[in-house]
């Protein structure tokens, strides 16, 4: 099975972020980067499918030069090769532009399965995988918790709301977006890190893939959440006040 896993490099989760000069993204100088956490589960799932059914795992990203290190991490964990669509435009890009870059590279190769994380830790669109499926003209399913690829088709467990699940069957090839936390992500072994250096690593510029610069979405402004304090006195009898308080805790503060 030829499995493509889309991974994104994002700023580390506990980074101290501040808006850049244009107010459209966060300053990334001096910030450390890591693989988008939801994508680590997709990668792990791909590696497990390969261990069960054989084939190849290809890690792919659309991102600036620095995101090569995230692909290197995927190789160290066991991906067989990597593809980097390199461009600074993918730092602030919208889900469509990213999906377009990924699709242009994946389309060139045989693929049985494309996996993505459910969403990214930075922009959090949750759309890249879905748009990518449309561009590749693949059937897709989201929020996948289990994949059974033992038959010719893909039998998958999807998470719905309120503890409900759906079991669906898709033909191959297909695209699945993977729910976080469904597996225990492996560490890169030290031997794996050393082997990664010798694995195939393909770079594309957007031009090589014939991608223009479509912008469907633009960030107008980005700012720190404003802290504010508000005091409200609840009036009425003790019972009325208790009822109002309960209402507020439940529906405004959402702590109950």
């Amino acid at each position: 099975m030829n499995i493509f896993v889309c991974v994104k490099q994002v700023m580390a989760r506990d980074s101290v972020l501040r808006p850049n000069e244009t107010g459209t993204w966060a300053v990334d100088d001096g910030v450390s980067f890591e693989m988008n956490e939801p994508d680590t589960f997709a990668l792990e799932e791909a590696l497990r499918l390969k261990e069960r059914h054989g084939g190849e795992v290809v890690a792919i990203t659309a991102g600036p030069a620095r995101s090569a290190s995230t692909l290197r991490e995927a190789l160290a964990k066991g991906a067989d090769r990597a593809i980097h669509v390199e461009g600074n435009r993918y730092v602030e890009s919208d889900a469509y532009a990213t999906a377009q870059a990924l699709a242009a590279a994946i389309r060139r190769e045989p693929h049985d399965l494309v996996l993505t994380g459910l969403q990214s830790d930075d922009a959090g669109f949750g759309q890249t995988g879905v748009i990518l499926a449309e561009l590749l003209e693949l059937p897709h399913a989201t929020i996948i918790m289990e994949i059974d690829a033992s038959g010719g088709q893909l039998r998958c467990k999807r998470e719905l709301e309120a503890g409900w699940f759906q079991t669906i069957t898709l033909p191959r090839p297909a695209l699945l977006t993977i729910q976080s936390g469904i597996n225990k992500v492996r560490y890169a072994t030290l031997m794996g890190i050393k082997r990664a250096r010798r694995k195939p690593f393909r770079r594309y510029s957007p031009d090589e893939l014939g991608i223009g610069e479509p912008v469907h979405q633009r960030v107008r402004s980005l700012y720190q959440p404003r802290q504010s304090k508000q005091t409200e006195f609840l009036e009425g009898s003790s019972q009325e006040v208790a009822a109002k308080l309960l209402n507020k805790l439940r529906f405004e503060a959402r702590v109950l």
């Binding site: 506990d14 290190s69 290197r72 160290a76 560490y187 030290l190 990664a196």
Partner: protein, 391 residues
Amino acid sequence: MFEFRGVDFMEFDSLLSEEELLVRQTARQFVEDRFIPLITRHFREGTFPEELTAPIAELGFFGANLDGYGCAGLSNVEYGLVMQEMERGDTALRSFVSVQGSLSMYAVHSYGSDEQKARWLPRMQQGKAMGCFALTEPNFGSNPGGMITRAVPDGDGYVVNGEKTWITNGSVADIAVIWAKVGDSDRIQGFLVETDRPGFTAVDLHNKLSMRASTTSAVGLSNVRIPAENVLPGAKGLKAALGCLTNARLGIAWGAIGAAMACYDCARQYAILRTQFDDRPIASHQLVQAELADMITEITKAQFITLHATRLKDRGRSHHAHVSMIKRGNAAMALDVARRARDLLGANGITDEYPIFRHMCNLETVKTYEGTHNIHTLVLGSHVTGIHAFT
């Protein structure tokens, strides 16, 4: 307390390659996920979490900077970063990995025959055979050349008699690197001694107040008969034994930085969260800030000098006095940071709810093992004056 994300005041990471960062990430995540949740109980009970031996081996930590035999072949900088992260967890973890790789496997790798290497190194890398390194004796610590353990030629082999102590992993080892004088000469030689040979005993030393999660043993050799093929052919003279120690000592220098980082990071977070006097964080007080400023300055200095010394080693430009300098300096620095960090936590600083006191106790050992602070002072003194002052 939050997840440990490292200590980097002056863009230290910008000097590290992609691979070096990945190696550190693996070690850091392993320690955070698998080791930190266990260490408090093991330190209390005086035990090592032996169930971690298999994952430690699988991830490639044993003999990680050696080439071949299934070893990862890390550079010394990469290996140093691993040691730093291990000791950020606990000195016992770093020592466990370091005695296996930098002392025992290194001795076989550097001084062993091809047969010895093929027989032992793959199994040691996989954690299926554990090693220990026995040089120190009850009456010969800083002066190992005075050792009285002897290997007397007998037929086609040797008979070994003597006593070794402070041997990390002595009782868990399958194979011991034993240093002994040959016949009635003063010539020191390294031997491989399987620990199941009759006459070999290892008794654990209990009641330690430091490195409690590390197995430390006294090793007895009473008429232990070994064949001639157990001689480590290249391990001739005290110099060979000291070569192993110089190699392992580099890991100690890095490890001490890890322990210091753990203490600093804990104290910094604590100082920001803990409030006193009008509900202000104690980090807003000048005396507390002075402590944190001193700590981060010393840690940062240690990081850069240690990285430089290790890059020299990777380029084949390292001198053993360089290693003495960073081992001595970093251990003393880390102990000082630990004591200051403990102060910032007040009474909480003495409990094992926080890692600081545990590190502080461990660092008392780090200061005096693999060459005491004072012995390294004399190494440096001798290096800069050309005059030995050991006796």
